[in-house]
């Protein structure tokens, strides 16, 4: 160990000795409790009211989120349905072309995977 390390350890030990015992005087906590007990009981009531209010706000936020999620899903579904309806002939042609180009087995696996991912997303969102 170098002299510098020893010096540093020595200094640190002295600082710990000097500052380590620093604390408020005896009876500090009792004095705090006494001061607090002299205050009006309002904060306790206030705390309960605030707690109820926060719970109500949380409940409302959750309800709003559920509603928003539902509307988003509905909107997306409506858009998808409209697109399908609007481009039905093109989609039909594309599907027919794809079916002739892509292996039907692979297409089935891909479709199932996409469906699975969608369902998993919906479930995880519902849980979250």
């Amino acid at each position: 160990m170098s002299a510098e390390d020893t010096g540093r350890r020595n200094l640190e030990a002295r600082l710990r000795g000097l500052l380590g015992g620093m604390d408020a005087s005896a009876g500090f906590e009792a004095r705090v409790m006494q001061r607090v007990s002299m205050l009006a009981v309002a904060p306790r009531e206030d705390l309960r009211v605030q707690f109820e209010r926060r719970r109500e706000l949380r409940r409302r936020r959750l309800r709003r989120e559920v509603w928003m999620n539902g509307m988003t899903t509905l909107g997306l579904g409506a858009c998808a349905a409209a697109l399908l309806w609007r481009f039905a002939p093109e989609i039909q042609r594309l599907a027919a072309n794809s079916a002739s180009l892509i292996d039907p087995g692979l297409l089935a696996v891909g479709t199932l995977a996409a469906l699975g991912a969608g369902v998993w997303l919906l479930i995880s969102r519902a849980r979250g």
């Binding site: 010096g7 200094l11 000097l18 604390d23 205050l39 707690f51």
Partner: protein, 181 residues
Amino acid sequence: MPADNAISELIQAGRAEAAFEQLVPAFRRRVFGLAYSLLRDRGAAEDVAQEVFVKLWQALPRYNGRAQLSTWIYAITRNTAISAMRRRRRSVSMSDPAVFEEVESRGAASEAGLDDAALWRNVGALPDKQRQAVILYYQEDRPVEEVAAMMGLPVNTVKTHLHRARASLAAALAGAGEEVA
């Protein structure tokens, strides 16, 4: 800290009294230490610590759990201590008579006692942030991260303050003829 989380949960559950009973002993030394590191006067620091706990009691309903409990308490302590400093309207000196007497009496005129007094004077002569970091770090062997949270500074900045403070103290004591190394 796990205790801090337990207290926070009690507050969130609306159990103010139970939370406060745990909060005072859990934060007493931290609040006092932080107040002392800013005010450099034991009596004033204790007054500020008392004021902080009363404020905490009154502010508990407003604690929403978004910030860490300790961060919230440190901010209240820093603000209360700074207000107290402004009220006193004088630049405080490190020669806190109560502590100085205690340090000198500990050694009862022995060489060690005088050495401690010299060290104490040198700690007091450090720049504000360095002195604060030294007091908070060595008061309870706290992790630097905790000291940083107490001071409201980044961890690396606190590490720099501590490093510089130790270097200054070592140089000052060596200059005074004390054996540091």
